[in-house]
Assembly symmetry: C2
């Protein structure tokens, strides 16, 4: 073998390099002369073969989704509510997984034979010199050792195994963005305080409760020798963090369908959306916990603080980034006439929203979290600047992406239960986990609800609390977090257990929602939109403003008087709200529409109406000297419709809901015509149907 | 070095394997003991680093597209027509390319150091044993030798270089599908014969003309020693094939904007759409030309025939697959009530269309071609079954995807002119190529037009021919084909030359379209929809049926009497068209709508109207004994509107156009209100604007 010289060369170069630059140096020790042309053909053949294989694998999933869609349709058609599309997707995934695992066997000569010896590095890129030609190899990921042993059989299974990062970088972002973009803003903001408490305090609490319980469980297992590998306290905490991300998509779909009390809806939805974000950052900062010293699993205050700092930094950074890009989009859509070209507008909207994710990832923040807040900002500001067509387009686009991504993830979950190679199912751990998840949820909901009720005007009634307890489903986020790293024994055991938790909660809790609703006798058929507009007599109308906490009120006034006018065409003219000194600035920032609002009073665009209305609120809360235009505007506005600040606020926040309720109802149960008295959006749909069909 | 034993093991296993199963056996010859935990951290660090890097790179493109969109808006706003968005995207791409190439320098310690020695295989997958952990590496592709030498500088550039297959498997399909889905069917079918001739005969002719010319050019270069590597006749033919795919997106946009004669539009669009498909298959079958014997570049009849067989097989196979999935989708959407749930419907439509591509690739056919014909089928049949909302959604979705993909490809083109590592610019070859492209196009258009005019009623006038000649732009398809394989010297030279051809044609020809139109005094402002509906007096109205060739007439009758009724809700009831014997079958296949058509006569859904109308045509062409229902239906139908078969045909085929014209106009110049008398679609949009803004 004439490779010694090269080896020496290797050594010498190696020493000259800083440690963290690992040389991706490889030399294949088989030296046989072959015809280069022949190789090329063979290589091409192989590449083509693998491409075909990939297409076929992807095809499996596409057909799976198609099948799911058809079955969902059947279910909705037949008004079945016991099984949600996601649960269905999982079942189909399971079936395909069984087939792939036990039915299909790839002829072993399709496989690569592997001879390997110890190396000290796994670089991200390998360069390989094949008789003069250089081929680049990229690190795909780690493979379990046991997988390599019987690689012959597992080739097929490894084929249908996606890179775990796919979920985080491709499938999750649209889901999370859609959640933020379709938030029921009025009820969300009304319950903002409670939601934040549930999301932040609650998630942390349940994370630590679960972590401690699991640690107890693990130590027990160690005692009776059930543990086959390391399982540190940090691992337990990590497990607590990932299973604390609730995802009650099933429950919410049914809530939408049955028009369950919208405060309950808002509490659940808001909590689930935000605690996903919290769980992501929490888990990453737990991973980042690395004390100095040789024993890297002791408690250490500094490292603890560092992790906490990371948590704060990453979360706030992602939050800021998401807001920032949202604001930029709002400004662009406001100050360009892009609304004349809906296609360009939609494309821009899509690209900007996507860039949020990339930007956050590039900066080392969490893209998913950034995307969430970007979605909220887009819904709150940019949405008002979009042309009606783009409003539909963007909503429908992200609705579709969300639908596809969600069902893909759930069907992959089902599949991976059988195709994943390194499952570690440990009865004790599993039982412990289920118990811990239950207790963690309980420790989150009941105590916090009690504390919150001390401050809330409309209490969170016990049956609401039970419902929230029951609706603690685990879903896409938990899965994505747990599959992300399955290198160690502990992580593998977590992954297997998490899968079971998801299956159980989605099928049992998801399926039992209607029963739970009835046995908790929670009122259904509440009209989310009418609820607060019984009329001027004010029978049972509840004011957002008076109920919501003071921080929200401050924020609302600021948002309404300054942010909305700056970022959108709506809101009172800045000339009216800003102090006289900034007159010129205000004039150039205020768009023409803001002045022309009164012309549009007869128009049925509620967003614009209520802005006129709110001008009274403006004057009510802050008394600034207004220039003629502003005063004039507001004057006629108030003349136009006699609305007081609270109605205005309600209506404004309600604007988002109209759209969503319709969407929701369409999505869940479009055949029933007992929709809420139709807002403009659905009027349009109606009209469509009349004209077209 | 304790690697000898492993080497022997390697050798032994190696011998036991069939040749084409190349063992991906590697052993790194650096054996140094290191702390495993440390490695993990380092590996994670590196993975994270590269992930960040990737995000940043992708971000560059996103921002590029955003910038392009904003500039396009400005141009459209200012009515600039000399530069199309694609041309703009290229310019921006160029700028960024320059910056990446000359401004940015990555610190060299970020790079991987490569030590390599000769190997005899480049397997698709590598498994690497890093002290117990197995890492999987996948073949990313080949890298030019010169690139490896100065890898320090090129790291950054290689980063922004996409896997060439991305274009073919991800970016091109939506573009091609959209082309098929938004085909102006009436004018397309009216000129079907001519389009097919241009697409098939024309492309082959130009391919061979260009091939021959380039071969002459290459031999000349060999004479004067300008050729730095092999360049065989097959390479020349390959070049001819890839530059024969025209893509006059710029021209068509302007045609749409100015309402140029719709026959000319149809000819250009139809040709460009189909010759893409032809060029793809042609090039692949040229590559497949491999004569036996040691000298693999001689002419050999058998291999030639084999290639021809491959061409026919792949093309017809892809065609059949595309049609098949389209038909399946049509049947599914017809026989399920999926239209009640637009979201599911859209999702299904999207998935089925995508599965076409995957299916074709998995079967070894050409996915892009399959997708094209799938799109046409979807537009012709499935579209009629979709709910109005889904019709909008699908159109808008694919419009958006097309827009994004197209602009991405063109900006990448600009970028790659500077970032691609192995450019081979050869003046002689480039000049020769431009000449050959010009002559090839000429040899395609003029002779064929002459021949076609012998058969056509409405001749293709000389100025139309000049316009078609001029509109022979090269675009996305040519680029994707040429970048797909840049391993050999010949391919690299082709790639570089192709880039220049694309730039030139898009900028010069694209930019000069309006001038060309005026100097050829081609009438603009033709109303695509009114043109044939001057009225019953029939002044200058041209009938599709009489003009089009007999094969089309036969096909039309078959399609209208059998396919449409079977696959859609429209068309005459099968009970009327099928012979009495198949009565029961006909009844179960005919949907209720087909009978209820007369109720909807007052309705403005043109598709349904004209079907009633066409029933007369049905009876005109074939006289079958009809059962009561059918006769009744048709009777009232004819009573309802007195249309004759030709108008019916025109209107039916026109149905697709309405939508497209509107889309087109919106896309290109939405501010001008001189739209064609608005069909229902835009009425709806109008209404939206009134209600919303």
């Amino acid at each position: 073998m004439g490779s010694t010289c090269e080896v020496n060369a290797a050594m010498s170069v190696w020493r000259t390099l800083p440690l963290f630059v690992l040389a991706s140096s490889l030399c294949l020790c088989l030296s046989r002369a072959e015809d280069s042309a022949m190789e090329n053909i063979v290589t091409e053949k192989k590449a083509e073969e693998s491409h075909r294989q990939d297409s076929a694998d992807l095809l499996i999933f596409i057909l799976l989704l198609t099948l799911t869609i058809l079955t969902i349709w059947l279910f909705k058609h037949r008004r079945f509510r016991f099984l949600h599309e996601t649960g269905l997707a999982m079942i189909y995934g399971l079936l395909v997984g069984v087939v792939l695992r036990y039915a299909i066997h790839v002829p072993s000569n399709m496989n690569n034979v592997t001879l390997s010896c110890n190396v000290n590095a796994s670089p991200a890129t390998l360069l390989m010199n094949v008789s003069g030609k250089f081929y680049e190899y990229t690190l795909k990921g780690e493979i379990g050792a046991n997988e390599v042993n019987d690689i012959q059989d597992n080739e097929m299974l490894r084929k249908v195994t996606f890179d775990p990062e796919v979920f985080f970088n491709i499938l999750l972002p649209p889901i999370i963005f859609h959640a933020g973009y379709s938030l029921k803003r009025r009820h969300f903001f009304r319950n903002l305080g409670s939601i934040l408490v549930y999301a932040f305090v609650g998630t942390v609490v349940s994370c630590f409760i679960i972590g401690l319980l699991m640690y107890g469980c693990v130590t027990l297992m160690k005692q009776i020798g059930q543990l086959g590998g390391d399982f540190f306290f940090t691992d337990c905490l990590f497990f607590g963090a990932i299973v604390s991300a609730t995802d009650p998509v099933t429950v919410l779909a049914i809530f939408n369908e049955l028009h369950v009390d919208s405060d309950l809806y808002a509490l659940l939805f808001g909590e689930s959306v935000l605690n996903d974000a919290v769980a992501v950052v929490l888990s990453s900062s737990i991973v980042a916990y690395q004390p100095e010293g040789n024993n890297s699993h002791t408690f250490e205050a500094m490292a603890m603080l560092k992790s906490f700092g990371i948590f704060l930094g990453v979360f706030s950074g992602s939050f800021a980034l998401g807001m920032a890009t949202g604001v930029v989009t709002a400004l662009v859509t406001k100050f360009t006439k892009l609304r004349d070209l809906p296609l360009l507008e939609t494309a821009l909207f899509f690209l900007m929203s996507w860039s949020t994710f990339l930007l956050a990832e590039a900066c080392g923040f969490t893209g998913v979290v950034a995307v969430l807040f970007c979605g909220m900002t887009q819904a709150h500001y940019t949405f008002n600047n979009l042309s009606p067509e783009s409003q539909d387009r963007t909503k429908q686009l992200f609705e579709l992406l969300n639908f596809l991504a969600e069902n893909f993830i759930f069907s992959y979950m089902g599949l991976t239960l059988f195709t994943f190679q390194n499952h570690v199912f440990n009865p004790i751990f599993i039982v412990g986990a289920f118990l811990a998840v239950f207790l963690g949820r309980a420790a989150n909901i009941y105590p916090l609800s009690f504390l919150l009720n001390l401050g809330r005007k409309n209490k969170i009634t016990p049956n609401f609390q039970h419902m929230m307890m029951f609706a603690g489903l685990r879903g896409a986020m938990t899965f994505a977090l747990s599959i992300r790293d399955t290198a160690t024994y502990a992580r593998q055991m977590m992954f297997s257990t998490t899968l079971l938790v998801v299956f159980f909660t989605v099928w049992i809790c998801g399926g039992g929602t209607t029963q739970m609703l009835s046995c908790q006798n929670i009122r259904v058929g509440v009209d989310a939109d009418q609820e607060n507009f019984i009329g001027p007599d004010g029978v049972e109308r509840r004011s957002t403003k008076h109920e919501s906490a003071w921080p929200f009120r401050i924020w609302y006034n600021f948002d309404h008087n300054y942010l909305k006018p700056i970022l959108t065409h709506s809101g009172p003219p800045l000339t009216a709200t800003l102090p006289a000194c900034c007159g010129p600035l205000a004039r150039c920032l205020t768009s023409q529409q803001a002045y022309e609002n009164e012309e549009q009073l007869k128009d049925d665009d509620s967003d614009l109406i209520l802005n006129d209305g709110d001008i009274t609120l403006t004057y009510g809360d802050i008394t600034v000297s207004t220039d003629a235009t502003g005063a004039h505007t507001s004057g006629t506005a108030v003349g136009g419709v006699a609305v007081n600040s609270d109605e205005a606020l309600d209506r404004e926040l309600a604007f988002g809901d109209h759209e969503l309720v319709i969407r929701g109802t369409r999505l869940v149960l479009p055949m029933d015509d007992s929709e809420p008295p139709l807002p403009l959006d659905s009027h349009r749909h109606r009209h469509k149907y009349e004209t077209m069909s």
